[in-house]
Amino acid sequence: MITVDLAQKTVRELNQSLHTENNIETHREWRVENTKGGHNIAVGLDADIKVDIHGHAGYFCAGMNKTAKITVHGNAGQGVAENMMSGVVRVKGDASQAAGATAHGGLLVIEGNAGARCGISMKGVDIVVKGDVGHMSCFMGQSGSLVVCGDAGEALGDSLYEVHIYVKGKVKSLGADCIKKDMRDEHVKELQALLDSAGIEEDVTAFTRYGSARELYTFKVDNASAY
């Protein structure tokens, strides 16, 4: 295992090491220390490596991740795993706003709470949050799944496309065109698989599914008041 101490090295040096082919072929496990809330830690990885980040991370941690398994042993700032393509990003603490924003694939697990706009414009990522999510979560979510084991804030799933949303707790309010839907067998199976892959034990029958009413997909003059 390679240990990188951010008190000794810059984030740019760390990321360069994690992008250098020779390094990642010979060293599959990395440990990052002394993060002190620094931004852009472990961004743009494209290799089957494991990175453990000890301490709180700042903005855009694990952004654009492909294949790598990244764990933040602390809180993460805005935009954790934004635009992730594949791999697994796990945050042991809380995540700030816009976690998993625009992410295309992979799995993002947040063991604490997520702030506002979690999964905004998500495009295929699966996000599992053990705690609560803030307002406007899944705004304009296009594809993928959002699982919330706690409560959801205001305007959940506003202007939603095809994301599957599962919430165990209370939803403060639903956004435009987001509605409650039936949990069919396929959804129970999907939810169970998501919880299993996140390593979180929950009673799947306690969840409610939400999705798009598909009324705002294309502009209809009758809907003008909803914009």
């Binding site: 620094g38 700032g77 805005q78 803030g134």
Partner: protein, 299 residues
């Protein structure tokens, strides 16, 4: 974009180290605001029948020692003046209005940066590191301090446009964001007797709180009303003589992190500004909720 930071001590353990703990917090926020910086520190309270003012003179036509003597003889009261670079902290056994009126009559070029029993405001155009060092921030003592690093958007890069803003006794405010109804609100507040030094939107927020407190609101009530009457994006940190508050607007797109231990409450735009605080690894760290305010007050 701007950076805001605040440190409120819950007991006297770190009072002698307040400036030293706060300096790295302010400097870490340079990336968010390199145009100007400032801070308001609370401590070294004057007795009940005294007033404390932070003064700055653009014209430099006098020495502060001359001013001290002049005020003392003309107002017939005890006066103490401590100079810190180009700013003076004036303590006078008198009323705030009396000293302000005398200053405006005799030295119209003097700006009053703060007034009250406890507050001192120091701010300048330039990098936070340079400003902290210039005023010897690291040696300062006190009970709480709030600071700001500015990346200007709504008004020019000047000392006047720098935060913190103070429009009332011992009250100050720092702001990250932009208010959209500040012009109309400023007009309304002017009609209600609140005076403003700049065209800056954040000063209007400070003026609004001063106005509410003058109406008899508690800090809690003033902040509840602010959530209804202020339109725009904001994360505020507010200082009063004995209190410290943090508030975010309902959209909450301007960042904020709070940390609390047995000894202190700390606020910053980004966690990295808190990373140097003692015991931060064990602190309760959380993101303040939208449309919510948090208040700590010494009883």
């Amino acid at each position: 974009m701007c950076g805001i930071v605040g440190l409120y001590l819950k007991n006297d353990r770190f009072e002698n180290d307040l400036g030293a703990l706060f300096e790295p917090m302010l400097i870490t926020m340079t990336d968010r605001g390199p145009d100007s910086a400032g801070f308001a520190i609370y401590g070294d309270d004057v007795p009940d029948n005294w007033v404390k003012l932070t003064l700055k003179d653009a014209d430099n036509t006098h020495t502060w020692a001359e001013l001290e003597q002049q005020i003392s003889s003309e107002l017939g009261c005890d006066v103490q003046c401590t100079v810190n670079v180009n700013v003076a902290v004036l303590k006078a056994q008198s009323q705030e209005d009396t000293v302000r009126t005398w200053l405006s009559q005799h030295y119209p070029s003097i700006q009053v940066l703060s007034a009250g029993k406890s507050i001192e405001i120091l701010k300048e155009v330039g990098l936070p590191e340079v400003i902290a060092s210039k005023f010897n921030l690291s040696a300062m003592k006190g009970s709480h301090i709030i600071g700001h690093t500015r990346m200007a958007t709504e008004s020019a890069v000047t000392m006047e446009g720098s935060h913190p803003f103070s429009t009332g006794s011992d009250l100050c405010l720092v702001h990250n964001g932009s208010l959209s109804n500040h012009n109309r609100l400023r007009d309304k507040l002017k009609r209600d007797g609140i005076s403003f030094e700049t065209e800056n939107d954040s000063e209007v927020a400070a003026g609004y709180l001063t106005w509410r407190l003058k109406q008899g609101d508690s800090l809690k009530e003033a902040l509840e009303n602010a959530l209804n009457d202020l339109d725009g994006f904001f994360t505020f940190t507010i200082g009063t003589k004995d209190g410290f508050a943090v508030m975010r607007d309902p959209i909450a797109c301007k960042p904020a992190v709070l940390a609390e231990t047995e000894d202190y409450v700390a606020m910053a735009s980004e966690y990295q500004a808190l990373a140097s605080l003692p015991g931060i690894e064990q602190a309760k760290v959380w993101e303040p909720e939208p449309a919510t305010f948090y208040i700590w007050e010494r009883k």
